[in-house]
Amino acid sequence: MKVSLNWVKQFVSIEMPVERLVDAIGSKLGEVEEVVDWGARYKGIVIAQIKHKAQHPDADKLAVYQVDTGTGKDVQVVAADKNLKPGYKVAWIPPGAHVPITYDREPLIIESRKLRGVTSNGMLGSANELAIGSHDQGVAVLDASLKTGTQLLDLFELDDYIIEIENKMFTHRPDCFGILGVAREIAGILGRPFQSPEWYKTMNLKNNGAQNAQLACDNQIPEFAPRFMMQVIENVNLQTSPLKIQSYLMRVGIKPQNNIVDLSNYFMQLTGQPTHTFDLDKIKTLSSDDPPVLGPRMAKSGETLKVLGGKSLKLTSEDIVIATDQKAVALAGVIGGQETDIDSKTSNIIIECATFDRYKIHASAMGHGLFTDAATRFSKGQSSLQQPAVLSKVASEIASFSGNVQDPIDNKNSAAKPYGTIATTSQFINDRLGSNFVTSEIAKLLQNVEISARHNNDKLEITVPFWRQDLAIAEDIVEEVGRLKGYDYLPKNLPQRSLKPARRNQFLDFKAKLRDNLSSGGANQMLTYNFVNGELLKKAKQNPKKAFRIANALSHDLQYYRLSITPSLLDHVHPNIKAGHPTFGLFELGKSHSNDDIDNKLNLPNEHELIAFVFAAEEKQAKKSFDGAAYYQALTFLSHMLGYRNSSQVLQSCRFIPLKKFNLKQQPWLFHVAMPFDPDKSAVLENKGQGVAVIGEYKEEVSSVLKLPEFCAGFEANLELIQALLPKQNYKPIAKFPKSHQDITFSISKTASFADLSAAVNGFFVDFNKKTDCQTNVAPSDIYQDATHKYVTFSIDFINPRRTFTTAEINVLLNDLSEYLKKKINARRA
């Protein structure tokens, strides 16, 4: 909302410097976005009188004027306007001064220069160039009574500041979309009583009926158009408005047109209430009734309307239109129709002044992309109680030029409530502000902004003024008091609380732990977007049809909710290698969603908390540092992530099932997670039939299209399922006697899996530990493979709580183990 300070000053006197006023507005009314020193553009421009006129010797289209600029010495100016006569008063822009209209964008500074050989010292401005009117043909001829040499700044209150206040603050303040409302608030925040002009508070109209000789009203939708008023003025005279009105409109960003439209706009700026003018004779031709009937109705779906500016709208049944019995003539609350527009031939007009359902107007403006000043105001919900005052003011101002005002038509929904009252107490207010205001102090703050507040001891009875439809509950009064006082002046006290500790969020702590572990393993946590391009899903072999599609995304890169995190990580592998990082581990914690996985109770998609990791090494580095498949590198990180103690227990409580053998269909999230992984070189980590993670290398096609290096593998795990597997702390007393150590190697067929052997070995020792109260810790230390067999070496610690194991005891035990393994899985001791 652009506010002209001088316009405000017509209603409230302000002596303080503008900087201090702006600070006060910022802290007590709303954020000030910009302050424009409007007068700065007029620096140097003075009123001059034409002394002498001559034809330019070399240019038919130019005249050479001698002008008196108040210094007593004539100045020569060349101008294209040849109609100026000696004695005329004009505005002279001297060399070095700005052309005012260009001041804010691409400023143009005038200089002395020769025009076809004749020196022109400065320029004589048109109304538009001077930013005081719309006329741009010819030099502006000013009032003859003006004194030569006077600064233009002193005219029309041009020495002004335009303060732009953020609209958002006024979402619930339709009154502040008018200068009057802002002036009232400024008085309030300066602690002064405000007086609205008398005409504004006049509520009664004489002779208001539903029709008269010229016009009738048919309001088909009183629920969406609670009040619809019209007034006819006959024999109007279309002309340009006085420059003062035009200049005020230009300051707040409205283009002046003619006295009728300008006055309608001027009073909209002043009060927040838009009015619209129709050409009565054009309305008559579009109506079969006599007198013509005009009023609001819902548009018919597919109905079209050509609006001001020439755009043709295709309406929906949600739009409100103003229509005759034959035809829609305006999109209500948003924009007028072109067919019934005021033009130079207009002699009889209808002024329409209405209020509409704010949500319908908002939807229409959004739907048609027409963010007009009227729509902005109506969508905040204007008060129907100010219509009579605004309508009669606009009508009488138009008629002051010429014309006969006819009786107004007033169609109102009797259900509309007039004044509301709010009962509250100073304690209620103080409790919520943390303040200690006495009742009379509160009442005074409210009365300053014309909110009547009767008070008796602690009690306050507030009568809501007609322009404040936002005030409905006692909390609204809390806001008024806090704001007008200034929140920054409230006592600042921390809430009093008990010493009860806040419980930490264990899942958050768990995630932080995994994150810290990975980072301690040299991996880097990244964040990528939840939204991905459909192409990336396809590259990762996922099905975009299963992903939630963003219907209003600005870019293709934000087309879908991702189905898992791995594709986003893989997408960053190649760029990082290219940037000169030969080896790295990337990981991200995030959520996945898919449209085949809905919580039917909540009617919301299930969310899965996942962690994804990818390890990559470019070719040379991989050869130098790593033997064997990248898969094991991912496995090492998975185990490091879980932590030393947890990892052995978590991994032992799970089975590694080859991805190609696992039925993914039971768990949609797992299905999507698994898609980029190579079924031959990946495993599902399974616990009690449920997959908790996928680990492995990526499909050949995925690698190729995402330019992954050969040595690349990773995992993606479900954090909640992993958390559920975490073992409780399982303390074992520290051994009193030195442990014994022994390596032992078994061979199995090349085609048997390591797990077959290790499960049997572990089973044997778990059994032994149980029977004997001894402890044995088994860890594989080497796997050798030849053409036919695998040879696995286990490194075993033997701990006896009573004494050290003897070599003989260990040998017996290992012989038993060998016998056991031979029978069980046909493994041989090597």
């Binding site: 954020e31 603050m169 704010r358 908002h362 919520r432 943390g434 303040s435 909390e475 806090g482 006290n493 921390l494 809430p495 609380r497 806040a502 419980r503 930490r504 899942f507 958050l508 980072s519 393993g521 991996a523 880097n524 946590q525 990244m526 964040l527 990528t528 977007y529 939840n530 939204f531 939630f548 599609r549 963003i550 219907a551 209003n552 600005l554 934000l558 909710y561 760029p575 990082n576 940037a579 990082h581 080896t583 790295f584 581990g585 919301l604 969310e607 064997g628 898969y631 094991y632 590198q633 090492t636 990180f637 590694f656 080859p658 495993a683 050949e700 390591f754 290790s758 594989p780 050798y784």
Partner: protein
């Protein structure tokens, strides 16, 4: 397959020869020769077009099957692995898989700062709840006192899925849930005190200062006689602890449908101490968050009696604070996935 048309037969010879040398076998399908053959079809005599076209198609099919064969071969040639083993067979002792040097590791700065922020609020007695990342209109707007078609909805530039779900544009989507889940505390004369750190989404163009994906911390405090002064004091205390220095704060009135009254919170720039610098756009002040007293309708919708209890809520951006703290010049770095950026936060 032999081709009758000379041009096509020649192309086949050239292409099969090249195919053997190609590293990425699928590139053969993009060969200019093949494109040229297709392009030449319209300029042929109509009578010849059909025969020519069908031979070109045959050539393409032949090349495609070559590519497929090669792909099958590579897949098979990849060495099988035992996915149940802890490391690969015949791995040298000094080349066993191992994690990287821990000095290379890093935690994302936003996550580290969120931890720090959350820790301060823990100490102030707030519990922590994480938000959803896909939600419904009820939690995004309705439960927060935004009627349908309310113009304030426009301020949130919300992403919507074709099914009508929304990507939360603020962490306030959790307010109703948190109030419901914690309201039993009020009967025990305790406050509801919860912070909600999480990811939010706005449908806007990305530049050095704007992201469509960013982080907020929401805070909710409800109890008897909780007031605006408490709100300002709480946020001020937080900021002083976070920046470990005195920062001045001021407020400006604002409007949100879910708070009444509503305020915006502004702090002195901790970089220049009000002198004006590039971080604060020379103003000396930084706009940080929106806050206010929870609207009675919001409390009611969560089953809390607004006559008995009052509360405040805020929602502030985390990215902005972190950028201020570290002097990070471009918000896009956070989601860039660049190791140059990430590894600075080890």
């Amino acid at each position: 397959m032999n081709y009758k048309i000379k041009q096509i037969a020649e192309a086949k010879t050239a292409l099969t020869k090249r195919f053997k040398k190609l590293k990425n076998k699928a590139d053969i399908l993009k060969a200019p020769e093949l494109k040229r053959l297709y392009k030449s079809i319209p300029s042929l005599e109509p009578s010849q077009r059909k025969a020519f076209g069908s031979e070109v198609n045959q050539l393409k099919t032949e090349l495609e099957s070559l590519v497929q064969e090669a792909a099958n071969k590579t897949v098979k040639s990849r060495k099988a692995i035992d996915i149940t083993a802890p490391f690969d067979v015949n791995t040298a002792k000094n080349k066993k898989p191992t994690v990287l040097n821990s000095q290379l590791g890093s935690i994302h700065p936003l996550m580290r700062e969120l931890d720090d922020i959350v820790d301060i609020f823990y100490r102030m007695g707030f519990e922590v709840v994480e938000p959803r990342q896909i939600d419904d209109d009820y939690h995004m707007f309705e439960s927060l006192n935004f009627p349908p078609s309310h113009p304030a909805r426009d301020d949130y530039d919300t992403f919507v899925t074709s099914e009508g779900f929304v990507a939360p544009a603020h962490t306030s989507t959790m307010q109703n849930r948190v109030l419901q889940n914690y309201k039993h505390l009020l009967d025990q004369d305790e406050h509801i005190r919860v912070v909600i750190p999480g990811r939010v989404f706005r449908n806007e163009d990305v530049d050095a200062r704007h992201e469509h994906t960013f982080y907020q911390v929401e805070g909710v405090c409800v109890g008897q006689s909780i007031n605006v002064g408490n709100l300002i004091a709480t946020l001020e205390s937080f900021l002083q602890e976070y920046f470990k220095k005195n920062v001045e704060v001021k407020t400006q009135p604002s409007y949100f449908p879910f708070t009444e009254p509503s305020l915006e919170f502004v702090l002195t720039c901790p970089f220049c101490d009000k002198k004006g610098c590039h971080i604060c756009s020379q103003s000396g002040w930084i706009e940080w968050l929106g806050c206010g007293m929870i609207h009675p309708n919001v409390l009611k919708m969560a089953g809390i009696n607004p006559d008995q209890y009052t509360g405040f809520a805020w929602g502030g951006g985390v990215d902005r604070l972190v950028m201020i703290k570290y002097g990070i010049e471009d918000v896009r770095h956070f989601h860039s996935g660049k190791l140059e950026f990430l590894r600075q936060f080890s």
